[in-house]
């Protein structure tokens, strides 16, 4: 089994479950840019139209995790851990009304791990 690129904390998995119960199937897209950027956005599955340059990095707690190829260029050596903290955001991410915000924590893969890490796939 290859090493996963993305994982999720227990606390974030519980929030995913709450959101899935309320809204249905979900997806994540790593956002860039100002304000609430550089953080994962949680949308209804299919709400966000994936494009030809989006990449699929793996599943977290049953949800696809996607990122634009330009951004992935700087994440290819990183294990991305989706966590959740108390907070506010003005993006359209679904957890925000709960007073929570998904965020990522990062661990750099070692050289040995990199040889065994899951390859990314085009999202579409």
């Amino acid at each position: 089994m290859p090493l996963e690129r993305v994982s999720v904390t227990e606390a974030a998995a519980k929030v995913i479950e709450r959101l899935r119960d309320k809204h249905g199937e979900l997806m994540f897209h790593q956002s860039g840019g100002c304000c609430d950027g550089s953080a994962p956005m949680c949308f209804l599955a299919g709400e966000f139209r994936l494009g030809g340059r989006d990449l699929y990095l793996g599943d977290i707690h049953g949800c696809g995790f996607y990122m634009h190829a330009d951004q992935f260029e700087y994440y290819k050596n990183c294990h991305t851990i989706v966590d959740v903290v108390e907070g506010r955001g003005s993006s359209f991410s679904l957890e925000i009304p709960l007073g929570l915000r998904f965020m990522i924590r990062t661990r750099l893969f070692t050289d040995e791990e990199l040889a065994d890490v899951r390859p990314v796939e085009p999202a579409t």
Partner: protein, 498 residues
């Protein structure tokens, strides 16, 4: 001296059709100050029903507002500016409490510039005109402007009233009615302004709904009743806004952030004079608004021949950035806007350290003795290289990444090696070199021998992934109106086809 925290009402409603209206489903959320986590007020948690009501009110007001004379519309914009200028202190205190930035910024920049934006567009519409051309002897073409009708605007939290004014001013000047959603972290200054400006605008011309993006922003951005949507924020939501705009075939303007290079060329250190002093200030501008600015100069590129001496002087100035009570005019940097922003910035400090960047100063949270419960981070400078994540991703905090270059070409290559292109800075005593850089950098705003100044009349907007459209310039009017061509024939004879 320190000012006092402002007072608020217990609860705030939406502003729809010139009235304060409770959210239809009766839900509210608590707004807290990032300065000390203290409770500010309960804010309407709106949803699609409230957005429908606001669009309906705006639609009802649009025909009359679109037809009032330019003289009257301009005068109304000036009255709004008067209202802001007469209440700078009150609005600044509210904004400081709501979003955490220090009072000397809100009082000295954010609020006064908001008024200036309205005055600028009040002036522009008095002076501009459509055009007319003679196609031939008997055929005359007129290009006239007409308002779009109702527009949707979603405001970010980092400069709440200023970003609202950047969007309100051209939209109203062009004759549109607005449905605006403020950011959930920062509704207070707009709500206070709506109270203060009572009676200036006809009912329904400016409607404000508060709430969360998924519940209130999405129904606004996708509403079939709006004829244009404007958004400032991050890229994933920016793409969603474009999707919704595509569904309704309406224009969208977006400002989505940046990762600005700030380039210090060798000649900066040629003399120890006022200009060197100014360039050092230019370096330290990454702490303005706690680094929560889309244009924040977060990548400093320094010529390798001056690096050691220049960085030494700059770090002394960074160390002199005074933190403490944001309500004191002495304080230079306040609180980060919220816990999640604080946590995100702290995570990037961790990433920088893991990536092997050299920490030059800061790198930790700041223990604020006045407000121990707030979200404070020390001004931080890393040295590293441009392929690191801290050089490529918008951290939106007081975190600067420094690297060196050996010549002009390498500096330009590093400057442009980014997904974004909102702004950049270049510092040099050589005008020929300045031309090479200002034209060579791929960004919508290049500050040459200055930084972080935003006069109305100087356009603002992004290249590359930083967005679509321009603000703070007359050209923004064209994002908010239709052009109608009236082709008039004075020829009595038929064309001869049929």
């Amino acid at each position: 001296m320190a000012y006092q925290r402002p007072e608020f009402k217990e609860q705030y409603e939406n502003y729809i059709g010139g009235k304060w209206v409770a959210p239809i489903d009766g839900n509210y959320f608590d707004n807290h100050s990032p300065i000390d986590k203290s409770f500010i007020a309960r804010i309407a948690q709106s949803n699609e029903k409230d957005v429908d009501a606001a669009v309906e009110a705006a639609t009802a007001a649009a025909p009359a507002w679109g037809k009032i004379s330019i003289v009257e519309r301009s005068a109304i914009l000036n009255k709004l500016a008067d209202c802001i200028e007469q209440n700078v202190e009150a609005l600044a205190l509210v904004e400081t409490c709501d979003i955490g930035k220090c009072l000397r910024e809100t009082m000295g920049a954010d609020i006064p510039i908001s008024a200036g934006e309205l005055r600028y567009f009040a002036g522009v519409i008095r002076a501009e005109a459509g055009s007319i051309s003679d196609i031939d002897e008997n055929l005359v073409s007129q290009e006239v402007h007409e308002p779009l009708g109702v527009v949707g605007q979603i405001i970010p939290w980092n400069f709440p009233l200023l970003m609202a004014s950047w969007k309100i001013a051209p939209a109203l000047a062009a004759g549109n009615c607005i449905v605006m959603k403020t950011a959930e972290q920062s509704p207070m200054s707009m709500l206070l302004l709506l109270e203060l400006m009572e009676g200036i605008l006809p009912p329904g011309v400016l409607n404000v709904v508060t709430g969360f993006g998924a519940e209130c922003g999405k129904p606004l951005a996708s509403h079939p009743g709006i004829k244009k949507v404007a958004f400032t924020g991050e890229t994933s939501t920016g793409r969603l806004i474009l999707q919704y705009a595509a569904d309704n075939i309406i224009p969208a303007s977006l400002e989505l952030g940046g990762k600005a290079p700030n380039i210090f060329l060798e000649s900066v250190m040629d003399q120890d004079d006022e200009f060197l002093d100014k360039a050092i200030e230019g370096f330290v501008f990454f702490v303005l608004s706690q680094g929560q600015a889309c244009t924040s100069p977060t990548r400093a590129l320094i010529h390798e021949n001056i690096y050691e001496k220049f960085i030494e002087k700059c770090l002394v100035r960074v160390a002199a950035v005074k933190m403490g009570d944001p309500y004191s005019l002495e304080t230079m940097m306040g609180a980060q806007s919220s816990n999640d922003q604080y946590q995100k910035i702290m995570s990037y400090l961790d990433i920088g350290k893991q990536e092997g960047a050299e920490l030059l100063i800061g790198g930790e949270s700041y223990d604020n003795e006045v407000y121990p419960d707030g979200y404070y981070i020390q001004p931080t400078v890393f040295k590293g290289h441009n392929k690191m994540r801290i050089f490529q991703e918008e951290i939106f905090g007081p975190v600067l990444c420094v690297t060196t270059f050996k010549d002009d070409d390498e500096a330009l290559e590093i400057a442009n090696d980014t997904q974004y292109g909102l702004s950049a800075g270049v510092w040099t005593r050589d005008i020929h070199q300045m031309q090479k850089f200002t034209r060579g950098i791929e960004a919508g705003r290049v500050f040459a021998n200055c930084y972080h100044t935003y006069p109305a009349g100087a356009s603002f907007g992004g290249y590359k992934n930083s967005g679509i459209g321009r603000e703070t310039h007359a050209m923004a009017l064209d994002h908010y109106r239709n052009t109608k061509n009236i082709l008039i024939s004075y020829d009595k004879n038929r064309q001869g086809f049929f």
